[in-house]
Each structure stands twice: as C-alpha cells, then as structure tokens.
Symmetry: C2
Subunit: 305 residues, 2 copies
C-alpha cells in the first residue's frame, strides 16, 4: 500500500471513530452522510449532525482530492522561498476537518483539522491544528485544553508547543476586532523531512493530534453540559458566533481557498453556526463574565498557569 493510501485509510477511520464518539457524547442525534465527488478528481464524505441534546450544528468532513497543482502553490512566497513544487506537477490532498457548535453557551465551540498534501515531484506536507472557542473562558478548562496539546507536542519535540501555540494565536485572529477567535490551541503547516525516520515520527505526531480531539472535547462537554444558563448567556453565545462567522468568511485560508477555487460550497461553509447574531456596538458590563472573557481573547496569553 502506498503512503498516501495508508494515510487516506487512517483518516477515514479517524472520521468514523470521531463521529461515533460525538454521537455518544451527544446522546440523541446522529450524523448524516453526504458523499460528493469533485469534477477535477477525488471527493469526500461530509458528515453532519444537527439539533442534538449537546450539539446544535456540527460537521466532520473527510476529503481526498487530486489533480494538477494550483498555480499559487508553485510560486515563490513573499520571502522568495520556493515551495519546491514544479508547475507541471500533480497534487494529492486529504484531510479531516471538524467544527462543532454546541447548544449550550457553557460548552465551547471546537475546531480541528489535520491534512496531508503531496505532489508528483516528491513534496510531502503535514498540517493541522486544534483550537477552542469558549463563549465564556474558564481558566481551568483553558489549562486542561492547552496542557493536553502541550503533552502531545512535548512527547515529540519540546519546540513544538511554543511554536505551534504562537502560530495558532496568529492564525485564529480577527484583526478588525483586535480579538483572537478564542483561546487558540496549536496550528502547524508544511511539516516535512527528507529523512524517512524523521518523517515517520512527524506522521506519528500528526496522528496523535487527530486522536487528541475526542478525549479532550468529550471531557469539555462532560464538564460543562449541565451548567445552568439563561437568556443573557444565550445572547452572548449568538454574538460570539457572529465573530466566528466573521473570522471564517473574512480570514480563514481554507474557506477563502475554497470560495476562490469553486470548491464544494456546503462542505466549505459547514463550519458556520445554525444561528448567529450581530448587535450594534455591544459592550458587556464592566466586570461581567462577558467582559472577563473579552480580556482573555488576546494573543500571547499563557493558559498553562
């Protein structure tokens, strides 16, 4: 079996097991599957859950697509560094992408993505990330989340967590609001090595990131799903989701790429919430839980202490 077939099979199994665990955590709703094919080559299976006891709207997408390498990937970047991909090459890309919008404002929104990209001229890139968007930031939950990610990172390379945490802070940022999307997490791209032993270890790390999603998120659900909330918290959740929509439509690179390359629109916008809200110049009361959360939506927060 080729490496790409092995990775593809592993990702499909990961999607299966994540969906099964999320159904169990939700308790009432199940995923429906939407299979799709891409005209230019490949396809995917989008799995959608809605109106559950815990999850209001969520998607777990798998895709594996191939074709001629898009021109923007064969160009030099702004630092005149070549991607190493020749313009006549073909590419193969596969990944699993998740966004879960819970019913309760006390349960955080989560996003996870792991992806593998290779070209016919030998480029092999691993990328991915997990980030958490609590409507209300709990210090304990934030520490639990970042500790879990640090543990996965540290077991492979002590340089990973600080580097990938900063990368997430920079990536999941809404410049026009001067806010991070949530409490960040880790983000990485183009992890690769010419040394097969090193690359094998990188693949092991990358797989562990994917496997971290279920234990971490089901624990965050368990901790928070019974918490009492009222209209005030629900309203705040809708406003925070408005920010999530702003980030995804204006800044998210995956969304942008999908929209610009005529991608499968429903799968690209699977990340948007069932309901979101905008209110003119909403400023939370000083000292309120909402105001405290806003103060923490900044780059460079240390959530481990």
């Amino acid at each position: 079996m080729s490496f790409k077939d092995e990775i593809t099979g592993w990702l499909m199994q990961l999607q299966d097991s994540i969906c099964a665990s999320l159904e169990q955590a939700d308790g009432t709703s199940v995923f429906t599957e939407d299979k799709w094919t891409r005209e230019e080559g490949g396809g995917g299976r989008s799995r959608i859950i809605a109106d559950g006891a815990v999850i209001e709207k969520g998607g777990v997408g798998f895709s594996a697509v191939h074709g001629p390498t898009p021109a923007f990937l064969t160009k030099e970047d702004e630092h005149a560094v070549s991607s190493g991909i020749s313009s006549g090459s073909t590419f193969f890309a596969t990944g699993v992408s998740i966004v879960i919008h819970p019913q309760s404002p006390m349960v955080p929104i989560i996003h996870m993505n792991i992806r593998y990209f290779e070209t016919s001229d030998g480029v092999k890139w691993l990328g991915g990330g997990i980030d958490l968007t609590p409507h209300y930031v709990s210090r304990e939950d934030a520490r639990f989340f970042h500790e879990a990610l640090k543990k996965v990172c540290d077991s492979h390379d002590p340089a990973y967590y600080p580097k990938f945490k900063t990368w997430a802070d920079d990536y999941f940022y809404i410049p026009h609001r001067k806010e991070t999307r949530g409490i960040g997490g880790i983000f990485f791209d183009r992890i690769t090595s010419g040394d097969p032993i090193v690359f094998q270890k990188q693949v092991a790390f990358w797989k562990e990131v994917g496997e971290t999603f279920v234990p971490v998120y089901t624990e965050l659900i368990r901790r928070n799903k019974e918490k009492v909330f009222g209209e005030k918290e629900k309203n705040w959740q809708l406003l925070r989701r408005g920010r999530y929509v702003e980030f995804n439509l204006v800044y998210d690179k995956g969304t942008k790429f999908g929209l610009e390359t005529n991608g499968r629109i429903e799968s690209i916008l699977m990340s948007l919430p069932k309901y979101a809200s905008w209110q003119y110049n909403f400023i939370p009361e000083e000292g309120s839980e909402e105001a405290k959360t806003l103060l923490l939506l900044k780059k460079g927060q240390d959530f481990l202490t």
Copy 2:
C-alpha cells in the same frame, strides 16, 4: 459655500429626513445616534434602530472623511486606465449608507448608498445605488421597485437604467452561491463630467436617487407588513440573511475597504442582521415559494414586465 460643503449639508439633511420617515413607518422604535471621529480626519454619525414593530435592525449612516488619498486610488486599474488622481493628493469623501432588516420575512431588506468623492487635484466622482433583497420575491413589488428606479434614471438619461441595472446585477452577486443577493436595483460609480452644466445635472440625478429611498421603501413596508407568516417563513428569512452576511463579508467592496483600512468597525458592520442562520445544504421543496424565489435570484432578470 464650497460644493463639498453644500453636498455634505444636503446629505446630513437627507439622513435626518430618512430617519424621521423610517421612524414614522416603524411606529414604535426610534433611532439612536452614535457620533464618531476618524483619527486621520473627519467623522460621521451612525444612526441605529432596533427591535421596532417593523424594523428588527437598521442603520442609516452619514460620514464625511478626508486625508491623504489612499494608494490604491492613485494606481492604474487592470485596463491600465489611470484614475486621474496624483499620489500626493488629498481626498474628501462623504455619503449616506442604509441597510434595513425588517422583522417580517414578508417585508424586503433594502440597501441604499450615495457617495461623493473629490480630490485636491480636481477629481469629482458621484456614486451610489439602491438594491432590494426580498426574502420572497413578489413580481408586483419587484416591478414597482424597478419602475421607480427606471423613472428616476429615464428623466435624466435613457441609457442610465439599463446600464446601472446591469451594474447592480454584477455587483450584488454571490459567486459561490451562483445567486444574486436579491432582485438588484441600480448601481453606479465615478459619474463625472468636466462640463459644469452636465455635472450639475448628474448631481441632480444623484440627489434624486437618494430621495427615492423613502417613498419606495415605505410603500413596500405598507404593502407587506400585515402579511401573515409562520415559522417556515421566519426560518427562510434567517437563511436568506445568512446569504446577506456572506455577500457583505466576502464580496462587498465598501466592507472590504473598511476592514482593510482599519475603518470604524461598528459602522462598517452596521449592515449585518440581528439574527442569521445557516443550515447544511438546505434545498427548498420543489414548487414552493422559497424555490420560486431562488429561481428569480439570477442575473439579467427583467422585473419590468
């Protein structure tokens, strides 16, 4: 009084009279004003209405800003046509912008904008547009709306309506949905003339566009506000507003420009609805009113017949 002062005063009065008429049409809610200043020069007054009997969320913004001309305006465009603006120049821009999201799905969303732009090296541009986004397209209302715009256009230049209607079709378009935002209207930009008599006539047309907003929209409110609707129609309204958010955040040039140039974010995003919704792959029942509306959200529809 300079031309720019005259225009600025006229726009402020237009904002006043539009707000008064909208308050009267709503019947229960009134505008609150938020004055702001721009660090680089100028400012504005944002007027917001919310939770009224007819209007769920609406904004009528006035602004008048000035400063060094942004670099992108002094460049040649993709056809190597110079804007005629030198890079050392200063600019002045003033306008009124409106977006109204009604409570009832039977009342259309409306948008209107008129703007004037001049530079220290003598450029004078008039721009603007009105477009309508009914949640349900009524042929009679669409005809009424387009006839009113055609009348304003025709009284100045018979070439205006066909040209500006097509421009609106092209501008208010959501490529990733292959849908127009609504039933269009008119859109125009950089209207100007070196001949003072001609320019004076262009200004008269531009003012009439601004004055057309109130009679047209209050009539559309009157026709539709008592219409009965249920949960199905409300749900459809929220989905259509999701599309409105997609257009404004991904494609609208004013929004993009505002986000990229560190504009006043609350005034820029005043156009977003109080509530919006996304549902995975929602396909309306064949032959339903929702499906009929979708069929009409295409470029090049003739709403005059």
